[in-house]
């Protein structure tokens, strides 16, 4: 299985390459990608340097152009595709049908990967993208269970990549407007979710309050760990109870099911986190590289090492991890 790792900037890319990524994915410095955060992503000079660095070490480079262009800025997405082709990247990760049509028509040899934002969760949807645009791979939304992914690898016309580790979207990606409802900006339109510019923190007595566009997302007492106010991980009131009504602050961690992911036919594992620090990337990529190598050497003897899990737990959101939809504890 290919290990696909995030790179939000050149130091992170170096960290991913050095610690064992098979491929890195990154985005241009604008709203054409789904991690359009200030201080992240690559300008032209950094791109040349980064590509050379990865190529010299036989690591593939994928460019994420995975948001949905609106007419006023359509040219930016066209330009992004043109630029990716000029750079000679190994694949572009795309979500929008219009963008795919442009890329497939103008550059029939360009490798297209369907982004998780494309929201394909079954083989008929995958067939559409394969037949129309000749996509080579699809990243699957974090809504399917392991058995469902296993059935999908049997019927899918393309290779499947799944999320292995990192922050957890609980909604079907590409079909979530929660962020734009509260803040005006969403992953599909702007490449952001719960954007930092809409966040405010305030001490109210001994309680710390987090808000998004002035909507109260959570209240923390002194003994509680305060997390970033991502909408779906807030504490809200439903039916008279105050709780994490949608999901707790937690990260996805599939290390314990690594052998199963391989056995059911998954071709690539994606590490989430282009917004993370180079130190985080180094740690997570190193653990996953070791685990994959250990599995490859002796698949029958594979067992997850305590040190791996300890390291991953330390960097996980709220120090909690879950198998999410893969195991469906809520089912």
């Amino acid at each position: 299985m290919e290990l696909v790792c995030p790179a939000g900037n050149f130091p992170s890319l170096k960290a991913a390459v050095t610690h064992g990524a098979d491929a890195v994915y990154l985005g241009f410095k604008d709203e054409t990608n789904a991690r359009n955060f200030s201080g992240l992503n690559f300008n032209d000079i950094k791109l040349d340097k980064s590509l050379a660095y990865a190529r010299d070490r036989n690591v593939k480079v994928y460019i994420a152009i995975n948001t949905y262009p609106q007419p006023s800025a359509w040219h930016k997405w066209q330009y992004a595709i043109d630029k990716a082709v000029d750079l000679g990247v190994n694949a572009v990760i795309v979500a929008d049908i219009g963008v795919m049509a442009y890329a497939a028509e103008k550059y029939p040899d360009l490798n297209l990967h369907l982004s998780v934002q494309g929201s394909a969760t079954n083989h008929a949807a995958l067939q559409f993208y394969q037949q129309q645009f000749n996509i080579k791979r699809a990243v699957i939304p974090r809504v399917l269970s392991l058995p469902q992914i296993g059935r999908l690898t049997q019927t899918s016309p393309v290779d499947l990549e799944v999320f292995a580790f990192g922050s957890l979207c609980i909604m079907a990606e590409g079909r979530c407007h929660l962020s734009s409802y509260i803040t005006g900006e969403s992953p599909n339109m702007c490449g952001v979710c719960s954007p930092a510019k809409s966040v405010s923190w305030k001490n109210n007595g001994d309680v710390l309050e987090s808000r998004l566009n002035n909507v109260l997302i959570d209240r923390y007492h002194e003994d509680e760990h305060a997390g970033y106010p991502t909408l779906c991980k807030g504490r809200f009131e439903v039916n008279g109870n105050t709780f994490h009504a949608l999901e707790e602050p937690t990260s996805l961690n599939t290390l314990s099911v690594l052998p199963q992911l391989h056995e059911i036919g998954v071709k690539a594992l994606k590490i989430e986190g282009r917004q993370r620090s180079p130190a985080y990337i180094a740690l997570v990529v190193r653990v996953w590289r070791e685990a994959l190598d250990s599995y490859r050497r002796e698949p029958e003897l594979f067992s997850e090492r305590a040190a791996w899990q300890l390291a991953l737990h330390k960097v996980s959101e709220g120090s909690q991890t879950t198998l999410g939809a893969y195991s469906r504890p809520w089912q």
Partner: protein, 295 residues
């Protein structure tokens, strides 16, 4: 301008559904979308039942469209989808790309529902080639973006090949998940939910700890906390080229809402007053929850 009634998004009992559509048959609604779009477990009506209802409504002058499930994960859901696509008599609203695939490979025309991500005219052009006859604009898009998309569609020479429908009244469908948030609120597993969502015929309010309406929980779907209401925008929509306004079913008061929209389209008089707890931000390119009529 036509008025449509979107699919029922909530779990209603069988008889409630029949009573509801009996009322709807007597209203001036032009288009009715039928079927379950949220949860595959909700099968209070079989496909045969929905089709019978479709023939009845059709005989009473309504254009009937069969709506399909939005999040399709299992083979059983795909085979149900295939049956809907092959019904032979009624147009189908595709709410997932799997439906677009099944319909287009058989050269059957279709409506693209609000969760088919159409954000630009290039996407429309490709889907028109595949058989798209009508699209329901994604709810987060604005008047300005719609205007630009339709202008671009004109330049691409496809503007006369499809109709445009805009979600104009009701709680906005905002997100879908594998998880059931209603079951979560009751602390029961999804597999033994016993259709607890039937207790909430208009969804469960999710409020901030300060009592603000934030979202509405409806099984695996999350909706807006406030009702979207574009009643005062009918004239603007007509001049943009919107063909159909969609109203989303609620358990009570629908006839009154339909009458309000019907009167507004007949008289052409601008309506400026709507309930202050409704929202319209998306239309004005703002946060969806905002109410811009008072600005």
């Amino acid at each position: 301008m036509k008025i449509s009634l979107g699919p029922i998004l909530y779990f209603w009992e069988r008889n409630t559904i029949y009573d509801f559509y009996e009322q709807i048959a007597r209203t001036p609604v032009d288009v009715v979308y039928l079927g379950e779009t949220v949860c595959a477990k909700r099968r209070q009506l079989s496909l045969g039942d929905w089709l019978d209802l479709a023939y009845t409504l059709s005989s009473r002058g309504k254009q009937v469209i069969l709506s399909t499930l939005t999040l399709i994960e299992a083979e059983s859901e795909l085979s149900q989808l295939r049956k809907i696509c092959q019904n032979g008599d009624f147009l189908v609203e595709a709410n997932d790309m799997s439906a677009v695939q099944l319909l287009s490979e058989q050269a059957i025309p279709f409506v693209a529902g609000p969760f088919i991500n159409i954000y630009n005219a290039q996407t429309l052009r490709l889907l028109v080639k595949q058989g798209l006859q009508r699209w329901v604009m994604p709810v987060e898009l604005s008047r300005q973006t719609l205007d630009q998309i339709l202008l671009e569609a004109n330049k691409l020479g496809i503007a006369d090949q499809f109709e445009t429908e805009v979600f104009s009244y009701g709680r906005l469908p905002l997100a879908f998940s594998a998880r059931c948030f209603t079951a979560r609120a009751y602390n029961i597993p999804k597999d033994s939910c016993e259709f607890i969502c039937s207790r909430h015929p208009d969804g469960m309010p999710l409020q901030s700890q300060e009592g603000d309406d934030v979202f509405t929980i409806n099984g695996i779907q999350t909706q807006s906390g406030s009702r979207y209401n574009l009643l005062p925008q009918l004239t603007a929509m007509r001049s943009l080229g919107v063909d159909i306004v969609r109203l989303s079913p609620e358990s009570s008061g629908m006839e009154d809402i339909i009458q309000q929209f019907h009167k507004a389209r007949q008289s052409g008089v601008e309506i400026l007053e709507v309930s202050s707890d409704s929202c319209n931000g998306y239309w004005f390119q703002r946060a969806g929850m905002e109410n811009c009529y008072n600005n």
